[in-house]
Symmetry: C2
Subunit: 144 residues, 2 copies
């Protein structure tokens, strides 16, 4: 298939609210009022967990198909912890982003435990967003 390019065009609707467009779709990202926003959408770090959930769902079903077991659906619970001090500039000792992310996947299936462990390992190794979160990815920021 070769390399695929994905792109998003975004602009600030306010200092905390962003309108981001991908193809015909619009994403509204905002902060809750206690973080300085107008609470019109999930915030950026919640969007990141949403991105991870969406990617895991696709890969869960893809690999279940390859492994020939019936997967009727998945529930995915995601949680991340971060210390906002670096973001707010009050302390630069800790990292800015999530320090850890935990994900619980509950598959609706009759597959046995052993099969599901093998499946989960394969999902982990082939999920694009998991890869970008777990491993370093170069981000080049430039002024335009």
């Amino acid at each position: 298939m070769g390399m695929m390019t994905f792109s998003v065009e975004a602009h600030s609707a306010s200092p905390a609210k962003t309108v981001a467009k991908a193809r015909g779709f619009e994403m509204i990202i905002d902060e809750p009022e206690e973080l300085g926003g107008s609470n019109e959408g999930p915030n950026p770090v919640e969007f990141m967990l949403g991105s991870l959930a969406g990617c895991l769902n696709v890969v869960c079903h893809l690999i279940a198909g390859e492994m020939n077991f019936e997967l009727r659906g998945v529930k995915i619970s995601l949680e991340g912890q971060l210390n906002p001090e670096r973001l707010f500039g009050s302390c630069m000792d800790e990292r800015a982003g999530y320090q850890n992310i935990s994900v619980r996947i509950t598959p609706d299936t009759d597959a046995d435990e052993e099969t599901l462990k093998t499946w989960l390992k394969a999902v982990e190794g082939r999920c694009p967003v998991s890869d970008n979160v777990c491993n370093p990815t170069p981000v080049v920021l430039e002024l335009g």
Copy 2:
């Protein structure tokens, strides 16, 4: 402020479509038809770029405020390249996720070039989502 926890609950509406909830908000993530979805929303890797845009917007404004220059708004263009072969299981030689992400930030401001370079460097160092993309973050997947 201490550590903050963010969480998302998601479920598969189909093998390619995910409904993810963060507080009262719903994110609809899907794949385009050519990637096996019903094209009802941005796909997971587009969501990831949206997340990055939203976070950069917040940090751009926060740091402009600290640096005392007027920032009337920002436009942010994001692009990432990935090779889908690992996702589809046809080749495990390359990583699954974005191999690189480029971001162009166009600020609406009268600040001079030197100020903006300092600003961009600070934005890069304090943006939570940039941190999670650029640097490794432990993701623990478990069966529930």
